[in-house]
Subunit: 159 residues, 2 copies
């Protein structure tokens, strides 16, 4: 259910030394979307295999590389899962009885785009509403301290 | 390295029907802390077994129940991992060369407290600075739409 990926030991974590400060852009290690997907089709939110396949495709949509994954199906319903990426992670928790999925799309590196993963997931789960807040994470201040900033609050994707 | 946990098939996901609206508190399914831990001891951030053990104890500190876990050690350094909880998840991504760990503590239910997991992790990794932003997630609006709200922005824990 996924295209061939390079063997895990050939994949190196996305290298933080590649971060470039360009213009007025914040120098951040990654972007993290905190997303609420509503109006999803309940049967899709209960299907652990379908969700695992969706997560793999979502990672590919974001141009990220999957290193590990873990999924769990709850009784009587609900699925939780994570794919660990070379560039951070994507996670999901579903409430089929409410048509609701809480998802996170967190990717590092300029080559990735977590919004593409979010859009893929929303489409696949047949979400009618997606609310997303975006952070830039891993912003190094003076003294070696790291912070994050909220860059888009309550961004609503069209269904 | 962990106290006995009930077998996975006896554990049910935290039940959303238990959510109570009390006083002026928002009726939310869960709380999610987005955290940046700085000044951590680099050797601790490279030790995949130590990090896995820390995550188990952090989940216990939050009074959460672990269902699944996945960890990956990158070359030349860095560890990523997630523990999937009956109540959502805890995740970590480490940059030992920067003494930095990006962590998420996301728990559902009134019986859990993600701040306790955050404090445990910060102490164990010897963080000198912890910056955390808290969301309440899974807030049901009229029409079956879900949203989140930012409840604490850039909360700094003392070292």
């Amino acid at each position: 259910m996924s295209a061939p990926q390079p063997p895990a030991d050939e994949v190196r974590r996305w290298d933080s030394s590649k971060v470039k400060e360009t213009g007025t852009k914040l120098k951040a290690l990654g972007r993290h979307l905190v997303c609420e997907l509503s109006g999803c089709r309940p049967s899709l939110l209960s299907d652990i295999n379908g969700i695992a396949a969706m997560m793999i495709e979502a990672a590919k949509a974001a141009r990220a590389t999957i290193m590990e994954s873990a999924f769990h199906r709850f009784e009587p319903q609900g699925v939780s899962g994570t794919v660990i990426l070379a560039e951070s992670h994507i996670s999901i928790h579903t409430w089929p009885e409410k048509g609701y999925a809480a998802m996170d799309f967190y990717t590092c590196g300029d080559h990735t785009d977590p919004w593409l993963a979010c859009e893929y997931a929303a489409k696949t789960l047949r979400a009618t509403s997606v609310l997303a807040t975006e952070f830039k994470r891993g912003i190094e201040k003076s003294g070696g301290e790291f912070t994050h900033v909220l860059t888009r609050n309550h961004n609503v994707l069209s269904a």
